[in-house]
């Protein structure tokens, strides 16, 4: 089973981004970037499937600028076998990324595509579902457990009301949720070794894909600010404030 894993280079999830004063976006100069945490979980799952003997090869793919090579090198250091960078400067939207992934899933004859359920920059939560639709295949989104038996995939999904277990036949697309696994850190020898692993670069046009955005971001704004609150000294004072000032309890 060949596994394709999509990884996105995003702002480090632990940082709080700043909106640029001119409303043209968020401040990304000199900001620490990292692999999207959900994609890291997807990659870890692929590596575990390979360690169990269920996967034979892991290809990490990223659609992004030249710098996304760093993210792919990290994927190789964690355990991906090869990497492909689809070079694209500027915003990449889920629809365009899904089209690029579809082309690569076909040319690589991937049996399983694993992705994070959302990227923590645009919070779209679309790419995996779009890819499955374009492939005409089944999807298992928000996965918290993935099992492969032969060509059948059994996935536990995190839903609004609880958990749901679904089965689907490969090829299929799985998007992963937080509790699927805890990604490993790459060891120093693995980081050294990753430098000699193959990393191919392709252009969107090579894949027959147009990544021109369809959403025009007119302005990026600060979220509405909350007015400052007050500290209370006791439970009695809190209850009094909630009753008489905020009037949210009786």
């Amino acid at each position: 089973m060949k596994v394709l894993v999509a990884v996105k280079r995003v702002v480090d999830a632990n940082l709080r981004v700043r909106v640029k004063r001119d409303g043209s976006g968020v401040e990304l100069d000199n900001v620490k970037m990292a692999m999207n945490p959900f994609d890291e979980i997807a990659l870890e799952e692929a590596i575990r499937l390979k360690e169990k003997g269920a996967a034979t090869e892991i290809v990490a793919v990223s659609v992004g600028p030249a710098k996304a090579e760093d993210t792919l090198r990290q994927a190789l250091a964690m355990g991906a076998d090869r990497a492909i960078l689809v070079q694209h400067d500027g915003r990449a939207e889920p629809l365009g990324v899904a089209k690029a992934l579809k082309a690569l899933a076909a040319s690589e004859a991937a049996d399983l595509v694993l992705l994070g359920k959302q990227a923590i920059d645009d919070d779209s939560n679309q790419t995996g579902q779009m890819l499955a639709a374009l492939m005409g295949r089944g999807q298992a989104t928000f996965a918290s457990k993935v099992e492969v038996t032969g060509t059948t995939l059994r996935v536990t999904r995190e839903m609004d009301g609880g958990l749901r277990v679904v089965e689907l036949e490969l090829p299929a697309v799985v998007t992963v949720d937080l509790r699927l696994n805890t990604p490993r850190y790459a060891s120093l020898p693995a980081i050294m070794k990753s430098r000699s692993k193959p990393l191919a670069k392709v252009q969107p046009a090579d894949l027959g894909v147009d990544l021109t955005p369809r959403l025009e971001v007119l302005r990026t704004e600060e979220p509405p600010e909350r007015k400052p609150g007050v500290m209370v000294a006791s439970v009695a004072e809190l209850v009094d404030k909630l009753r008489t000032e905020a009037k949210v309890i009786r």
């Binding site: 025009e216 600060e222 439970v235």
Partner: protein, 309 residues
């Protein structure tokens, strides 16, 4: 033309988030049809028809839609799509699952999780865990939109829409549901509750999480929520997680207990009307968004609060 709103439901009840999403759908300025796709879902269709502002309710009542799986549901909506220039759903686990599938098949870039409708093609949506808001103009002719229900008021009842049964579409047969582990709770639902009491890592065990929060929630008729740390530690079920990747809520009152207030948690609750934070660490970021902060030990303060209510 017309807007199609996908109803969120469990075959028996129309989920409250649909009425909120209806307000966003109506703001597009076109008549709204609601699609109820389910199995034995007549009560849902009747409830949808009572929402003010709905012109017609389409009902696809068929076993293949009983679990609202994305693949058959997308196949159905694709058959209907030519009659609609906007397709809208609340950003629930069903809406998030199925709408991008439809968008890709129609070659449309979806607008996810909108919090405001500025015009029929321009919307506001949060990005970076709500630390920025983008004003986006969708250039595709057809709009496909998921709605953050907590950002829109619920459409009232008082409508009398026509209910029109429609035929099921061919089932692509790509996936099957083999098990459903839904937790039945007497508590109000997180996304519909007027009051939420939410717990974090500080509870230190599932037993203490339940022992302290359930009595407080009962006093307030509140839903129980949790931070990611509490869910990861096994103190609370995953469907209780509030945050960037869990549920986004905006109740009248949100009481955060023993929650430090990571960016990802704040993203899911900072639009609550009144926020109370109770935490032993006076420097915890949760206090920065709280209207009322109380520093102290949750193991002493929560029983005291429960008694005082």
């Amino acid at each position: 033309m017309t807007t199609l709103l996908l109803a969120e439901h469990d075959n028996a009840r129309l989920d409250a988030q649909t009425a909120h999403a209806l307000t966003a759908a109506a703001a597009l300025g076109q008549p709204v049809h609601v699609l109820v796709a389910g199995g034995n879902c007549a009560p849902v269709a009747a409830a949808a028809a009572r929402l003010a502002g709905v012109e017609r309710v389409l009902v696809a009542d068929d076993p293949r839609y009983a679990d609202r799986a994305a693949e058959p549901l997308a196949a159905l909506i694709i058959e209907l799509a030519s009659g609609y220039d906007a397709i809208v759903a609340a950003a629930t686990s069903t809406g998030k699952d199925v709408l991008p599938r439809i968008a890709a098949l129609l070659d449309v870039m979806q607008v996810s999780d909108i919090v405001a409708v500025e015009s029929a093609d321009t919307f506001r949506r949060p990005v970076y865990a709500g630390n920025a808001v983008e004003l986006v103009h969708a250039t595709d002719a057809r709009k496909i939109i998921t709605v953050r229900a907590s950002a829109f008021a619920a459409a009232p009842e008082g409508g009398q829409a026509e209910i029109a049964p429609i035929a099921a579409a061919a089932d692509p047969g790509l996936a099957r549901v083999v098990e459903e582990r839904t937790v039945k709770s007497d508590r109000p639902e997180l996304t519909a509750a007027r009051v939420i009491v939410s717990g974090g890592r500080a509870f230190a065990s599932k037993e203490q999480f339940d022992a302290l929060l359930i009595p407080l929630a009962e006093k307030l008729n509140a839903a129980i929520g949790a931070s990611r740390a509490a869910v990861d530690a096994g103190y609370a079920a995953n469907e209780l997680q509030v945050g960037q990747t869990g549920k986004v809520v905006a109740p009248e009152l949100y009481i955060a207990c023993g929650i430090s207030g990571a960016i990802q948690h704040l993203a899911g609750m900072k639009d609550s009307k009144v926020i109370v934070a109770i935490n032993s660490d006076a420097g915890a970021p949760i206090f920065a968004v709280a209207d009322y902060g109380l520093v102290g030990d949750i193991f002493e303060l929560l029983p005291e609060l429960t008694r005082a209510l």
